[in-house]
């Protein structure tokens, strides 16, 4: 049966050995870049009678670390799933004049995770947090010296992480919603269902595949969460597996074996999820067709949708930005704002500090180069996955390996790259090259999946029409496929640029004191307690990302972000 399904998909083949050799080289490169660092970590952890494992898992607090990790992942997943689904449904029900609000659920992606976390710290830190200070004016809290909220506790780390994951869940769910035709909803409404009835009886069941897929990704991201626990939990003793890995590498002497062992549960889980998705979804994803009218045109417009999205936008974007802006404009961070003392000095300091400016350049250059490499690599992998039916083994390998960086936390790749490239034969420690390499690896899943979706959506006939018109596959690629995929490629470029200029976890491990990126430099400022500079730096990061996105929109049209 599978073969019959496969039949109409069989492609214009490259009829020689050229294709096979090219794909073999590609698969070998992927294995070298992605699998080798993971392999080296494990072989180290198992060395000396698995000393890494005994050292890491013999500790008293290991149970607590794992329990915190699981709690963090589970509860932030719940928050993200609920919010992401509600947001996706709400955006589909926006009244026409509020249609511009559709951009709101993806906008928080432009705000770097580190900026978001420190922004909330400025608001909800028990002592000088602005929101806490404001709440202490309330009659029932006016006896408090600090609080009432303590952002440095696991509960609030979970809430913030959940908020951070919401945009990801939203992307998956809204993509799923786009494939539900308006007729399905209208049929339910004309059968007498209310909005809530439609949601629970029709929308949710139809969304199940996207929810499972998006939930799987969000769970992995939650398990690999690093930024929140590190920035907020370090001083209060909140430990998760990823922060343990970082601690084992950054303490002196660094213990790579123990760090590798600490990451193993996350690697195993990532592998399980990646393989599981292949088994469960398999080739089905290749036959997704988006028939019918788009979901958008549901006739009942809901006012609650506007309210929901506006509230989300305020909480996820506006509030942390306000926190950042206030702190960035003050000479020192305290609970009371002295409006007369507001100053731009922090930005001046930022621009005058050469190593901070260097970190901006490094971020932009490394991200841009990585994106430039990722687009063609992703295009080749996508081509292999969509059309490489005559290379089943290479294709399977490429499929699994290219999905790994999405399943395995960035911290682990950071440790793996640090280990691999501080030792012969290739020593790259302290160079921008190692940052570029790890960035390429992190972005391969995005470059591949986004272009693969576009290739699948393109279908076969445009390509067959070109071949029957007498065009070689090279000409077809250049004249037909690439122009038609331009919007998708630009979306992928914009997304990868955003994610990379925000990159923190892997960068923190492969950076050196002299080669920093924006996120790691911000972390150093945070660790030193230079809070006003942290705020200014976070805003600068946001601005750099914003400029990149604006550039992408300028080239690719305004809907570059819509395609995400």
């Amino acid at each position: 049966m599978a073969a019959v399904l496969a039949a109409p998909m069989s492609r214009i083949r490259s009829r020689g050995w050229g294709g096979r050799i090219g794909y073999l080289v590609l698969a070998a490169a992927l294995i070298y870049m992605i699998v080798l660092p993971l392999y080296r970590l494990q072989s180290l952890a198992f060395a000396d009678g698995a000393r890494g494992y005994t050292s890491q898992y013999g500790r008293d607090d290991i149970g607590e670390v794992i329990w915190t990790t699981v709690q963090l992942a589970f509860f932030s997943l719940v928050i993200a799933m609920v919010l992401g689904t509600i947001l996706a449904f709400a955006t589909s029900r926006l009244p026409r004049k509020f249609a511009f609000l559709r951009i709101v659920p993806v906008l928080p992606i432009v705000l770097p995770a580190v900026a978001n976390v420190v922004g909330w710290a400025f608001l909800l830190s028990p002592g000088p947090g602005y929101l806490n200070a404001a709440m202490r004016h309330l009659p029932w809290w006016n006896h408090l010296e600090s609080g009432p909220i303590d952002i440095y506790t696991p509960t609030w780390i979970i809430i913030l992480t959940g908020f951070g994951l919401t945009s990801f869940v939203y992307l998956f769910v809204s993509a799923g919603m786009a494939s539900i035709s308006a007729e399905h909803l209208e049929a339910a409404q004309t059968s007498g269902s209310s909005t809530i009835g439609v949601f629970f009886r029709v929308v949710l069941p139809l969304l199940r595949p996207s929810l499972i897929y998006g939930g799987g990704v969000a769970l992995l991201l939650g398990l690999g969460q690093f930024t929140g626990p590190l920035l907020l939990g370090s001083n209060t003793g909140v430990k998760v597996l990823t922060t343990e890995m970082y601690r084992r590498v950054s303490e002196s002497p660094s213990d790579f074996a123990a760090a590798a062992a600490a990451g193993s549960p996350l690697v195993v889980l990532g592998l399980v999820v990646v393989l599981g998705q292949k088994l469960l979804l398999g080739d089905q994803t290749r036959f997704v067709t988006h028939g019918g009218k788009a979901f958008k045109s549901a006739p009942v417009r809901s006012r609650w949708a506007v309210a929901t999205i506006v509230v989300y936008g305020i909480v996820a974007l506006v509030l942390p930005l306000i926190g950042l802006i206030l702190v960035a404009l003050t000479p020192y961070w305290s609970s009371s704002i002295s409006w007369g003392l507001l100053t731009l000095d922090n930005f001046r300091t930022l621009f005058q500090t050469s190593d901070i400016m260097d970190s901006v350049v490094t971020s932009v250059v490394a991200s841009s180069i990585a994106v430039l490499f990722c687009v063609p690599i992703g295009f080749m992998i996508a081509n292999l996955l969509v059309r490489g039916r005559r290379y089943p083994v290479i294709r399977l390998v490429a499929d699994l390996v290219s999905a790994l960086p999405l399943g395995i936390p960035a911290v682990i790749f950071g440790v793996g790259f640090l280990l691999t490239y501080t030792e012969p034969p290739i020593i790259l420690y302290g160079t921008r090259t190692v940052i570029v390499l790890v960035y390429i690896v992190l972005m391969i899943p995005f470059a591949t999946r986004l272009q693969m979706t576009a290739l699948l959506a393109l279908g076969e006939t445009y390509i067959e029409a070109s071949a029957t018109s007498g065009a070689s596959s090279f000409t077809t690629n250049v004249r037909i496929i690439l122009p038609l995929m331009r919007p998708a490629i630009l979306s992928a470029v914009a997304l990868m640029f955003i994610l990379l200029t925000h990159e923190f976890a892997a960068s923190l491990l492969v950076r050196s004191p002299t080669t920093q990126v924006m996120g790691t430099r911000l972390y150093d400022l945070w660790a030193n307690g230079s809070y006003p500079l942290v705020a200014a730096m976070a805003l600068l990061m946001t601005a750099v990302t914003g400029l990149g996105v604006a550039l992408a929109m300028l080239i690719g049209g305004r809907n570059v972000l819509d395609n995400l």
Partner: protein, 377 residues
């Protein structure tokens, strides 16, 4: 170029044999229609001709040039076969104007001379799309898009033009227009063509020859007139519009229906010594409805039936009657039967007559008649 030869062509998907040892020749300038229900292998055959599928066995030659030979592993790439193809979904590239779409086969084949001498404009004018050259496909109607696609398929004067159900996505009126246009173009330009369809009226209108396929094999290959007059098998008869089917058994005075009518099939009666059970095939238009046996014309063969349903169709009623458990459809003139038919009740006894020369008979084959059910058109 002197014609296309397909021999022993076999294509499998997994364990399913889609095209089974197929033999077919297409003379130069001939318009061959591959006709059959979905899944009969007609599209796969077309795609093998285009080089979009790689067959497991057989050979395909364009004139004396072998483009595919399983034994010698010859498999000329699609873009080197000098063909033109028109797709069901039009497949006009949305990022190119009509002019660029039509000019593409000339450009990629480096036919600069043709491009300079206005071949694109000529091809567009041929299909009445000369005024649309600077538009994008999304600005065209379905019919216009398909005409542009036809121009693109023909512009480079390929050795063979392949049509993959090109009219299926068009609504009925446009379908007739584009069909007529394709027919005129073929008469004028005389290209060799293979046209895939499941629509018998398209096949009759366009084909110099019809190749009716079943289970990956040719069931009958002949001129439209011959196929219409003498369907080679029960399967072909059913497919080209002889939807009415009666099982008859041998009787000493002729052939008997299950409800006891004895029919004289005249010259269409199979010879003695043949099968004792036959299938009779009749077109709905060849059956006539009467209230009583006396109303039937002299010399016609008469069946007793009961009325099932009547649908108003303008000049005629579409009538469904039951003859010994078999459902027959026929058309009854509104003026002739308007007085009684609309008010006649279900189960009312009626009489159906036909001219014995209009019937076609085939040896009954239980396995085949079961298959036919899935082919009902």
């Amino acid at each position: 170029m002197s014609g296309i030869t397909i021999s022993n062509l076999t294509k499998r998907f997994g364990s399913n044999t889609i095209v089974d040892d197929l033999e077919l020749t297409i003379d130069e300038g001939e318009f061959v229609v591959l006709l059959g229900p979905s899944g009969c292998g007609k599209t796969t055959t077309l795609r093998c001709l285009a080089g979009l599928e790689t067959p497991e066995g057989g050979t395909i030659s364009f004139g004396d040039r072998t483009v595919f030979d399983a034994k010698t592993h010859t498999d000329v790439a699609t873009h080197r076969r000098n063909i033109g193809m028109i797709f069901q979904s039009y497949a006009l590239w949305p990022h190119m104007t009509v002019r660029d779409n039509i000019g593409y086969p000339l450009k990629v084949r480096r036919k600069k001379e043709a491009l300079r001498s206005g071949a694109v404009d000529k091809a567009a004018a041929m299909v009445d799309t000369g005024h649309l050259l600077d538009r994008y496909p999304s600005q065209l109607s379905g019919g216009q898009q398909q005409r542009v696609a036809v121009a693109r398929g023909l512009v480079a004067e390929p050795d063979l033009v392949l049509f993959d159900e090109p009219l299926s996505n068009l609504d009925a009126r446009l379908r007739d227009q584009v069909r007529t246009q394709i027919h005129q173009l073929h008469q004028r330009l005389g290209f060799s063509a293979v046209f895939v369809t499941h629509d018998q009226s398209e096949a009759f209108a366009l084909g110099d020859r019809l190749a009716i396929m079943k289970d990956g094999r040719l069931e009958q290959c002949d001129t439209p007139q011959r196929v219409f007059d003498e369907p080679g098998s029960d399967y072909v008869a059913a497919f080209i519009g002889m939807g009415n089917r009666l099982v008859l058994t041998r009787h000493h005075e002729g052939w008997q229906t299950a409800n006891g009518d004895v029919l004289d099939l005249g010259s269409r009666s199979p010879e003695r010594g043949g099968a004792d059970e036959i299938i009779a095939r009749l077109r709905p238009a060849d059956l006539h409805l009467h209230r009583a046996v006396e109303d039937a014309p002299h010399g016609s063969t008469v069946l007793h039936a009961t009325l099932v349903t009547t649908e108003f169709g303008g000049r005629h009623y579409d009538v469904l009657v039951d003859v010994a458990g078999e459902r027959l459809t026929l058309q009854a003139d509104t003026r002739e039967h308007g007085a009684w038919l609309p008010t006649a009740e279900e189960g009312a006894p009626v009489v159906v007559s036909f001219n014995p020369t209009d019937v076609r008979t085939y040896a009954a084959d239980p396995a085949r008649s079961a298959e036919r059910e899935s082919v009902a058109v």
